[in-house]
């Protein structure tokens, strides 16, 4: 299967996943150390989904996310330093120190906002797609959300609306099998999120969310379809959250999951898998090591940048409550 993907593309996706992994491992250390205090919902283990989907997108396409969106932000091209600064509450942060981990934005690459209210951005992605349809531009709008979000009413409302109007939206459910501490079948009668597509008249596809090539391929099909004006699609990407719902801890520490289940998923590490695929395609070990080294340095520099950046001025406490002309990029 992997032979169908050019090595440059696979390499690019590997680097993109690694940036997310190493950024977050560093963030986890800084959370443990008390240096980062904003609640961080880590994406470690799920990197193939953001990266596989975003590799199928153009810079202008819209991406909407939720509470666990560091990966979406980086995969779409958001500035790594600005996110690290945001996690530190600094004025140079992507949201100028007003948002933190759960409110990320990078309008220059189509990320118009990620927010922690579960499922909130699903209808907003539909609205952005409606905007592109009305303007007749070629943008596609992607909504990333977790399995818990599919229990919200507006998930179903949104699928129906997008389907009725044949809007260019890609609904990407990252099913990591847990909503906070609750396992999927403690909350759902059936393990059938992909079937929501059929119920609302749009294709619903289940994908191995730990296989970046599989995610990429499924996303390409859905995105091309959306750009042709044939309407929305739903991808259910099966994956696993390595860390706790929030913070740096491993879930095993808090007793949420069974150790053997986790061990099983560790063996499906999306980054290790992509590395194997690259080696199979002829990538040099030395080159892969060099990538790790390079990304580590980028993250280190971001931490230095964040530490050295100023906090927002207290005199600006009430700025931005209302938007005023001239602020918009």
């Amino acid at each position: 299967m992997e032979r169908d993907v050019p090595i440059d593309l696979l390499h690019g996706m590997y680097v993109s996943m690694l940036r997310i992994r190493l950024f977050e491992e560093r963030a986890a250390e800084l959370v443990d150390a008390g240096e980062i205090k904003t609640p961080c919902h880590l994406y470690i283990g799920q990197e193939a989904i953001a990266v596989g989907v975003c590799a199928a997108l153009e810079r202008d396409d819209y991406v909407w996310g939720g509470h666990r969106s560091h990966g979406h932000y980086l995969a779409k091209g958001g500035d790594l330093r600005a996110m690290m600064a945001e996690l530190h509450g600094k004025a140079t942060g992507c949201s100028k120190g007003r948002g933190g981990s759960m409110h990320l934005v990078a309008p220059e690459v189509g990320i118009l906002g990620t927010v922690p209210l579960v499922a909130a951005t699903i209808p907003m992605a539909v609205g952005a797609a409606l905007a592109t349809q009305l303007r007749r531009d070629a943008r596609v709008s992607v909504s990333f959300f977790g399995d818990g979000a599919t229990e919200e009413g507006h998930f179903h409302e949104s699928l129906n609306i997008a389907s009725v109007y044949r809007l260019p939206v890609l609904f990407v459910c990252e099913n990591n099998l847990y909503s906070s501490h609750m396992q999927l079948l403690e909350r759902r009668a059936c393990d059938n999120i992909d079937r929501a597509g059929e119920a609302h008249g749009l294709p619903g596809v289940r994908v191995d969310g730990n296989d970046v090539v599989a995610v990429y391929r499924a996303a390409v099909v859905a995105v091309e379809r959306a750009r042709r004006g044939e309407g929305p699609a739903l991808l259910e990407c099966r994956t696993y959250r390595w860390r706790g719902h929030v913070g740096a801890s491993w879930d095993m520490d808090v007793g949420v999951k069974r150790r053997d289940e986790f061990k099983d998923w560790l063996s499906k590490d999306p980054i290790a898998r992509a590395g194997q695929q690259l080696r199979a395609l002829g990538a040099e070990e030395l080159e892969l090591d060099r990538v790790v080294h390079h990304v580590r340095r980028e993250v280190d520099e971001a931490v230095t940048f964040a530490r050295e950046s100023p906090y927002p001025a207290v005199s600006g406490l009430l700025e931005h409550v209302y938007w005023t002309d001239g602020e918009r990029r």
């Binding site: 118009l112 699903i122 409606l130 009305l134 009725v164 938007w323 918009r328 990029r329």
Partner: protein, 325 residues
């Protein structure tokens, strides 16, 4: 000047906005219906097409969220809820999302959406077809809330709301749809946050919102016959509200009645009364009086409705009490 009804003025504002700004579209329930919105949207779908005048599925939450998302993505949507009661299903996109969007992203993005809704009550419609919930939304930083009482303001405030750049809740009232006044034919804005002094007076200040501004206008005429020289301020915007207009009037008259046809507790009138007490206490010659609905759901049966809703006499008696008459 040419005259229009309140409903015609709303329709004209929509039509002119749709004609002059390709970013504007309208979405919500009842847009193609002959009666959901009175005549306030009549025929717009025929004139501008059903691609821009979108009568939506019964999904208040997602439709409002979609309007917010479209606004963030560069459009200027007007999302319509024909009854305010039903709009409560869309509180997340309005309060959590649209209102916070500018702030939580440091002013780099905003949600320039107009959420239009209608207070539609009386006629034995009872509790869930009657509510006036402006106070809930007035509480929210990042939102603006306007409540026009005249056809002139109905048109000018809608145009101002669409051009504002922030989320604006536009609340009209079916009891006002037949009001008539002169309305300019061109596109114009009534500034958000500016009250209108409908009548100057020196004895007492009456501040009124929406339909109560029309009721208060009658009360002021009746009071005049009784020798009371009342100043009437139509608030027009409840967030932000025009402190300067209210304070300077109270400094002149020393007495204040606030009339808002919504519940008493934590209402618009409570906010104004507290602000006046805090900021212009020295000017007050009497306590501030509130003319509001009793803290109860809207009843059904006609005699109960008559007892529940407010009229000219409620304002007159509040005024006379403050004047010691």
């Amino acid at each position: 000047m040419r005259t229009l009804t309140y409903a015609q003025a709303i329709r004209e504002a929509h039509a002119q906005l749709l004609r002059t700004d390709s970013r504007v579209f309208v979405i919500g329930q009842g847009l193609w219906s002959p009666w959901y919105a009175g005549t306030s949207l009549q025929g717009l779908d025929k004139e501008f097409g059903r691609g821009r005048i979108i009568d939506s599925p019964v999904s208040e939450n997602a439709i409002t969220g979609a309007a917010v998302g479209a606004a963030i993505a560069g459009m200027r949507p007007i999302v319509f809820h024909p009854r305010m009661d039903f709009m409560l299903l869309a509180v997340d996109p309005i309060v959590n999302q649209a209102a916070n969007w500018s702030y939580m992203f440091g002013g780099q993005v905003s949600a320039p959406v107009v959420i239009r809704t209608t207070i539609n009550r009386g006629g034995e419609q009872a509790a869930q077809h009657s509510q006036a919930l402006q106070a809930i939304f007035m509480h929210i930083p990042g939102l603006k809330v306007v409540m026009p009482s005249t056809p002139y303001d109905a048109k000018g405030l809608l145009i101002a709301a669409v051009s504002d750049g922030n989320p604006v809740l536009y609340i009209d009232d079916r009891w006002l749809y037949g009001e008539v006044c002169g309305v300019p034919e061109e596109l114009y804005r009534v500034p958000i946050g500016k009250a209108a002094v409908r009548r100057g007076g020196k004895d007492i200040t009456i501040v009124a919102t929406s339909s109560m501004a029309a009721v208060a206008a009658q009360a002021v005429r009746a009071l005049e016959e009784r020798g009371v020289d009342a100043e009437l301020i139509d608030l027009r915007s409840v967030k932000p509200w025009d402190r300067e207009a209210v304070y300077s009037s109270v400094r002149k008259t020393g007495r204040l009645v606030v009339a808002d046809a919504a519940w008493h507790t934590c209402g618009v009138a409570a906010e104004i009364a507290a602000s006046v007490a805090g900021d212009v206490f020295d000017a007050l010659k009497a306590p501030v009086a509130r003319v509001c609905l009793p803290d109860a759901p809207a009843p059904m049966s006609a005699p109960l409705e008559r007892a529940y809703y407010l009229g000219v006499d409620d304002i007159i008696s509040a005024v006379e009490k403050l004047l010691g008459q």
